[in-house]
Symmetry: D2
Subunit: 345 residues, 4 copies
């Protein structure tokens, strides 16, 4: 099978390349870029010297339709809005890693993203690809909206207790921390080494565009959810997201009961690992892998629960989950090409 | 004036030395250590080569009483319990940076610290030294319990809205992040570089010994406070604490109103800096300094507020605040020897 | 094929596990440890939760002989001296990642390692496993001494110009930099996060035990080599070694000529990548991979050459090269299970 | 005394501000910027909130001449070429932190900096301000060329053995490592966090513009010096430079003899600290301070010496040395406002 990657010179694109170039059902990756073309891919990424002999191609919809079975869009916001509708009448399956197709409500997109949204009929066709929660629909779609990095960790962390109504719907507070690679490859003052190293910064307070995505997904599990508190922090590391989640319990559950719930809930989800009582995952324990590790603990004093979910933002939070969905959409085993160990240390 | 530092070979001790050796009212620092003695202080800390000609002394209570006006205890838990009572009948003022004297309730100390507590009559005499909130008492005491690093950031962040009842008493959730120096100078697997770098770890979930200290202080501002949710995370940097605080507002306050409240509340507190609307402090912006910087923002969607308070854990969270209290206890201007800029970048 | 890993709880051991658990010719890894036994391997390494169901076994030579075809020793100095001779009469192939078997001269070992050396007859049998330079011998041996991390980068960087006598034998100076994981998993003051972060430290000046190993290997290429200057620096990162190498040219070679020499020399070495003129590799460009990337440039002003060689110290500098040798020793294709891309960023 | 800082929004400028705002002989700092004006300085640097009430001024030569006694130029290359000649006929003393005035040979500047040089009569007037080596001239000048960061560490490390001819003139090799702040505050791909973190990069191989500056200074100590080998590496930290220097000894000196030479040579240099035998400084041991720490060791095997010199690139390598020269130029004690301890850890 031939696949295409649009946005190959970004971090999402190169992580897709790393995974897909070892995927047993992928014969060839064709790399597309709007910024550079007709130059070797390894010019952009010298770590691929010798490994990649690809040349960057310009984005030509007709050429893509002819040559590619699945197209990954690892592009900035706004690109997929233009590109993905052009493939709806073709056989090319689209997996969009940007946020353009995730929200079902056009107005909500425009409010949070501050830019025009794709047409509603496209939104309707798009399936939200949180692999663990939406498998049936993912299997059947040709237009997949791959989840954001923060939503992946947060929704996987909350799904069991939200769906089973173990927590009060209005009590959810998510304090998220991320490595800097989530900001992409373009240089900026905010991600300049000397400003970021030995520093923690909170950003987009109450305004992160992933908030409506998380709420939409939680609402699909329990429609009484209205809104959550959610903040993001930049920490001095390259990869990794930790979502520390707080919520009030609806009853006096023990940590053990809740852990059992999580183990049941994710019994068929090979990429979700539930930690033992009194153990919590750190971000490094999923580094470079497609795992989402979760720890939970009840606080009897406050009647709240603390849930910790960690992912590698570029793998389970982007390229890895995209390949997981690629597997599901193409009838391959979910773990194919993805079930490798984290790098530690 | 001659001062003594017990625990000179730790990070708290050496930060006290950095500040006190430039203090205009300190003529001499005498350095005490239980682990090493009769060796040059700069053997332990080569960055003090030429600067310090001190020799480490063994801890001898009678000698200290004779030679020292103020004694700083920068010691692990349990040491002050033994040492500080021996000075109660003397003129030596004690400033204890450990947690031994902070909690008024002996049973609470033993429950959270898992070790025996000092006698209650000593606890009664000790004054809790959060400089901004307790100035009158600090000025008069000879036995000062210097606050913990997390409590300093958290209590300063919450005091105005708790005292003025802008937030619901049972709604407070504190998500704290710290650099690794808070764990001290002794090597351990948990603070080994290769385990800590490029990693975020949550630790002591619901069990951090600073929880009762924070609750005790908040209760002194508003007795309806019972318990808070509080978690701590280790992030890959050396210095800095950020407390991200969530609470439900009791009314529909605007961010502007709340900022005004904070500015009023801290009008006479030179080390607390309130940020402008839509601005939040990062930890690096207080690096090496005694400032506590605070940003706040109301989330109209959820009716909650986000408060961010940052400090340098070794300065305002330990040695700096100890010197601030030293100033107050000795009738010096509060800013003396402490009002220097953070190092940036 | 069943393989055994002794020293499974160290960084070398767990990296061997990461690679071997995906190796197509390895059916099972049996994990041995002297420090822990009869406990799940994932207790030591939670990042292997669900992935590894192994239990740590105690080291029992007879049991190993029965169950294992190849035994990897990822152990501290001194262990292999005791263990490896016990397998010489068996069919078990030994791949020793420690320094115990690398030096041919017993006295030299004892001088640099400050500990007793294995017997000379064992040293004689051991083959030095720098895969690229010693393929014929490696293929035939049952007792392999896997090279040290610094020697791997240094020798690969120097081999072409040393063997072809492009550089003066007494002019070689190697300035090496390493991430902290090379120091292993045991906590120490020297690798404590707060002492290592935001810091560069030089260590073992003129005394690093890898010096005689490098000299022995260079001498086998050009016997006129006597001694080199070699220093190592600890830099604040987890993985990666850069050897910056300086030497005087014996003639007025151009950078292009030297690059051609390197490309020829390593034409059949899939894990050595020679960079283009005016390009130099950074350590991150080999992160997590078995590559050694090399850049060279002639300095016409000084008549010297600068050679830069980078590796991941835990892969090409330890576990990866061990598997490369495992492939050669067992008649597998050299790249088997090893030819994966670096993780970037 | 009133001083002016041009380039106040850069790292050199803000470090000058940190030091000068505590300097006992400086009454006021006036801040100039070409990029921003009429806005509060703390907009650019929130860590100065409350501390600085300055507004950024536009650069107006006549206004500066009226208001300022000493003008610091912390500007990119090319600015001082235009600005500094305009003050030659005034009483304003100029301290230029850029490279524009350091080289005495105009052609050499244009070759290495690839840009036009200031006129030769200006170059002639400029005094090279390596404080320790050039005190007499510095004291008398009104036009000071403040040394570069790498030259400061390298020249201080080499001066005693070069001047006293303990090393062969053509044998000097300098392997330098720097934190990222040396690249300034402007964002770029090369200093983007995700590209720089967990990475070592060599850059400007054989082409660094500090090479002729070092050679010129060494030649003034020993005219037989022609050219040196010099390379620079970017390491993942914010501040700090280490120069690891290799040279062949002209005789069989012991480490002790050489240490004695260094101690003598720098006996009157309060900011140079010579380490004890077998001890070497790390960069963190001078963090935030104006010290240059030096360690040396003879390698009997090779007949070479290893010299290690460390500085904080923004202090002794820029702003601190500029203030040291300011002290000398104005008849103040050399240590005034500068003799503070490094921050550790």
């Amino acid at each position: 099978m031939k696949v295409g990657i649009v946005g190959a010179t970004g971090y999402g694109g190169v992580e897709l390349y790393r995974i897909l170039s070892n995927h047993p059902h992928v014969d060839e990756c064709i790399m597309y870029s709007s910024s550079e073309m007709d130059v070797p891919y390894s010019n952009s990424f010298p770590h691929l010297s010798d490994l990649s002999t690809h040349t960057l191609n310009k984005i030509d919809v007709e050429e893509i339709k002819k040559n590619v079975s699945v197209l990954f869009l690892a592009t900035p916001p706004g690109v997929s809005r233009i590109l993905s509708p052009q493939f709806l009448d073709s056989d090319v399956k689209i997996i969009d890693l940007s946020g353009d197709l995730r929200l079902k409500n056009k107005g909500e997109y425009e409010e949070w993203y501050k830019r025009p949204c794709v047409d509603e009929d496209v939104l309707e066709k798009a399936v939200y690809g949180l692999s663990e929660l939406n498998k049936a629909e993912i299997t059947k779609t040709n237009l997949l909206a791959n989840p954001g990095c923060f939503p992946t960790a947060t929704i996987l962390g909350l799904a069991p207790v939200v769906e089973k109504k173990f927590v009060h719907e209005q009590s959810i507070i998510v304090d998220a921390k991320t490595g800097v690679s989530g900001a992409g490859r373009n240089a900026s003052q905010a991600t300049h080494f000397s400003e970021t190293n030995e520093n923690i910064k909170i950003y987009k307070v109450h305004e992160h565009q992933h908030i409506p995505e998380i709420e939409q997904a939680l609402r699909s599990l329990n429609e009484a959810i209205t809104c959550i508190s959610f903040n993001t922090h930049l920490v001095p590391m390259t990869r990794g997201i930790m979502a520390t989640i707080y919520a009030s319990l609806t009853d006096t559950y023990s940590t053990e009961e809740i852990l059992d719930l999580y183990k049941d809930y994710y019994a068929n989800s090979p990429f979700v690992r539930i930690r033992k009582q009194n153990e919590f995952p750190s971000t490094k324990e999923v580094y470079g892998s497609n795992f989402c590790d979760i720890g939970v603990k009840v606080d009897e004093r406050t009647g709240r629960i603390t849930i910790v979910a960690v992912i590698d933002n570029l793998v389970k939070g982007a390229a890895g989950q995209a390949v997981q969905n690629f597997n599901l959409m193409n009838g391959f085993e979910e773990k194919t090409g993805l079930y490798f160990a984290p790098i530690y240390p």
